[in-house]
């Protein structure tokens, strides 16, 4: 009886020993900078985990491997499987932000308000930055004001930052203006291109009218009107493209400055 009991203890010790060895092996790989292989070994620990705690521990270390590799998308995917505390969620949201998944950041930051009693200011800061990236400046200003209130910062500072937020141009307006060739481009702020668009369309229309005047009706219809239909429709597409481009440039410029200023004022939550 004693002998079998001893055998059982040794077998049990073997299993435990091998399991902790997996984690140690992964740790040593991580320490050697073999991040990809370490991530796989941590995943193995998660695969073999017998409790939620073990699983989360392995996955959190796996996140570290991906962060070392700069693979924030993979890190975010891993956080999704193991985030439980507010700190975990902050790290998860940070990885999402660093992998340019702004919509997800906003969604998750809102969920955090429901999940936890007090909102982490760092999560709010990431939410503001993500709202800026998606061009939702009104909402971003609101969240930034909420942060200012909680940190006892003067709200007028936030207003002064968002006072200069870019007024984004609407593609629909550009489309309607493009009924007169070149006006859509003017609205987008591309003056040279507006003149070119106007001249090309005027040339096509002029050729068509000249051919009508000369009684070359087929040439007028196919040569003039055919060419005009191509240049006229192209003028709509082109105006929309330049509005998008102009909005993008303005957004990038403002977001860069805004991020810098917000970081200065909320330096405690960096």
């Amino acid at each position: 009886m004693y002998k079998y009991f001893t055998i059982f203890i040794f077998l049990f010790a073997t299993v435990i020993g091998v399991k902790s060895q997996d984690m140690r092996e992964a740790d040593s790989l991580l320490a050697c900078g073999q991040n990809k292989l370490a991530a796989v070994e941590y995943e193995r620990c998660a695969f073999e985990a017998t409790s939620r705690k073990e699983l989360c521990e392995a996955l959190k270390r796996k996140v570290q491997c991906y962060r070392n590799e700069g693979r924030y998308d993979k890190a975010a995917e891993t956080w999704e499987r193991c985030a439980t505390t507010q700190e975990d969620y902050f790290n998860y949201i940070m990885c999402l932000y660093l992998s340019d998944q702004y919509e997800k950041v906003i969604e998750l930051a809102e969920s955090c308000r429901l999940l936890f009693d007090s909102t982490d200011m760092r999560i709010l800061l990431l939410e503001v930055l993500s709202l800026n990236e998606t061009g939702s400046y009104g909402k971003a200003q609101g969240v930034a004001q909420e942060m200012a209130r909680q940190s006892n910062i003067d709200g007028t500072i936030i207003d002064s930052i968002y006072k200069n937020c870019p007024k984004l141009k609407k593609e629909e307006v550009a489309m309607w203006l493009s009924i007169v060739p070149g006006l859509g481009h003017l609205y987008a702020g591309c003056y040279g291109k507006a003149v070119t668009a106007f001249l090309i369309n005027a040339a096509a229309l002029g050729f068509g009218l000249w051919q009508v005047f000369e009684k070359f009706y087929i040439t007028a219809y196919i040569g003039g009107a055919g060419m005009l239909s191509i240049t006229y429709l192209g003028n709509f597409k082109s105006a929309n493209y330049y509005v998008r481009k102009s909005n993008y440039t303005k957004t990038i410029r403002f977001n860069k400055d805004c991020k810098k200023m917000l970081m200065e004022h909320f330096s405690d939550y960096r």
């Binding site: 091998v18 060895q21 995943e43 040439t219």
Partner: protein
Amino acid sequence: MNKLLFIMLALLPTYIVAQNLHTVGEDFQFVSYLIGNGMKEEATTLINNRKADCDSMRFLKAYTYYNVMELDSAAKYYTAVGKNSPLRTESLFFGSVANLHLEQPNIAENLLNLVDDTSAMVRNLAMFERAGIKLLKRDFKGFEDCMKLVDTNDYRISSEVAEFTRIKKELQKRDKSPLLAATMSAIIPGAGKVYTGNLGEGIATFLTTGSLIAVTAENWYKSGFYDWKTILFGTLSACFYIGNIYGSAVTVRISRDALNKQRNVQILYNIHIPIRNSYRR
């Protein structure tokens, strides 16, 4: 004896910890888990760091590469599984499929010839696969010869046999001729494209070329042959007309290639299914 056993058991944990080995079986389970959960990158990283020092590991490597669609490596490792391995037959079948995906039907056929399992089920499956390869090679006589030896009542292949027969009938139909398409387009611009089944493209070609010819005719009639507009639109019409003839011939060739590719995909699919079902993991 009992003392020896006791000492061995006592040393076992130390041995395992010192060796830090995962058995191939454990790796297999883990790789299946990784692939099943979409972590193909992790599976490849793990397998790249394993030495192919035994048949089971070579098979595991091949299995992983096959699942992440790295077919070159999959074919290499499936082929390397030794003759005495119990995984040999399975490896030869999957190696054969991997080579077919790599457009190497001769190698695939040679691998099937190496299958030395004498069981009726395996022999039948191998013969069915050979028939599929003949069909891929468009060797209809060879296909018929193989099919005569296939037991079509085998539940694993019965529906695929019907598919092969259908595909063979389609393949034996006469292909569309590029010359006929070009001739049709020369008579009526766009007709060649309609013949290949591209009705919309045919109508568009007809309208474009027809319109340009009409404009040329109008200018020729009213201003004479040497008027700049006649020359301009005439040149454009000629370009479009010739382009339309050439385009029709090319369209036939492209659609024929696309159809052939589509049929090859169907054949490969039907070759793969019975193997996958026979060796499901």
